[in-house]
Symmetry: C2
Subunit: 303 residues, 2 copies
Amino acid sequence: MSILVVGSVAFDSVETPFGKVEEVLGGSGTYFSTSAGFFTEVRLVAVVGEDFPQRHLDFLGSRNVDLGGLMRAPGKTFRWKGRYGYDLNEAHTLETQLNVFEQFQPVIPAAWRKAEYLFLANIHPELQMEVLRSVDTPRVVACDTMNFWIEKERPALLELLPKVDILIINEGETRQLGQEPNIIKAARAVLALGPKTLIVKRGEYGVLMFHQHSVFTAPAYPLEEVFDPTGAGDTFAGGFMGYLASTHNVTEGGIRQAIIFGNIMASFAVEDFSLERMKRLDYGEIEGRFRKYRLLTEFQGLD
Amino acid sequence: MSILVVGSVAFDSVETPFGKVEEVLGGSGTYFSTSAGFFTEVRLVAVVGEDFPQRHLDFLGSRNVDLGGLMRAPGKTFRWKGRYGYDLNEAHTLETQLNVFEQFQPVIPAAWRKAEYLFLANIHPELQMEVLRSVDTPRVVACDTMNFWIEKERPALLELLPKVDILIINEGETRQLGQEPNIIKAARAVLALGPKTLIVKRGEYGVLMFHQHSVFTAPAYPLEEVFDPTGAGDTFAGGFMGYLASTHNVTEGGIRQAIIFGNIMASFAVEDFSLERMKRLDYGEIEGRFRKYRLLTEFQGLD
């Protein structure tokens, strides 16, 4: 099954303790699509400006990403500038230039309206709702959001959440949305707002998944070299949704396995700046980490 | 197999967002022994002052803890005062009164020198070394330490570590001791200092265990009510060593299972102030959480 994703395509400028890059390929839609493209076909709805180079489009096109919903608008492409300290779990935004993204009105090509898997990356919750209205009845709707929308657009978000199957947000966002400091209580409060499943991203501590009656924990794949965490969350979501759509298994077990693949994809993304590691990645490496991953949490029948 | 432990017995005054207690029973030796006592006999070497009430000794005595190595010295018992904010992962020490603990010279009763399992709680590394010298060849030596000793007594610590089988410290201490910000690299650096196994405690994020060639991750048991994290680390160590000594299985699999029991014991300890939850705990509850724990990390054969 293919996945429809609506998100950003951007230029990132990033500084970490290990290096610095300027105006490299980034954006939630880009990271998500590249990651999901390892598992299934991805249909990307996004906008770029006149300054966006063909080679980036060629790269995405070569990675199982259908660009039939990518618009080119007059003006400049979305730009984000951020910095990380040694605590790589937290980005410090230095500058955001929305540019063409400011007027972004996602248009879903008619042929894509029967999408079965839909991922709404972090954009205004009203736009997320519009996208949701313009597709038929997808089997799985997953979405992301951020502190800004939780604070400023809470009513729009609360209208969206009951229509979402899987909400994928980070730990701070979970506490903010659930209005509880304890993460387990916060997660319960978020589930009460509508989503059937909540996935909480905790950076180097991995992922928590909540259903009404169960909790699943999946550690991050342990890495000695974390170079740049930018895009890790969207790469996780891409691996997760990509695996889910490729297996078409949305049982508890299927969702748990998809989370592991999400974690593994994210573990590659952070090993280099921008999409560089994803460009060098092959499926054999993904399988290799999956095999090793099993031993990370195994505590029975080992001796 | 019984366990020999050398640590502190103290009065704690603790403030959390959920309440406040004054001069309640605490100390690393106390938490460790009570926790380990659920699994095996514990022999506690510690010191208290003249002000230490008999009822606390009666409690420990009723919990499989042999007090034949507990000295009563002239003066006051060790006191610690601390506060936690909503981020319950970090304690802010308000006051430390060493009192009788300042002159503490652990004396191991002759009959206890053949200890097979030894836990050196967080005391001066030179004292830890003295204890180690005064026992015969224990099968498993585990030890804890803290930022203060890592900074001020590094040479003494570096002398001790090659004689330690299992070092049990927290995440910040691992980074400080390994002199690396990346936790995986830091753990490798710590292993290079001598211990065969390193267990890294990460509060609500659970535990990482490192051997030369393997990594194991064990999430914290998810709790909606964390009341007071004081003693969680020593309760973990007690559950871990207690289970290990009771099964006498120190294979990779045995150590992993013991870590799970450590996590489960810690999950009870934080549900109330001081040792209150441990006083109400029975073994059936421990087994109940162990059964639920398996589902936390399971991602295969579920569907």
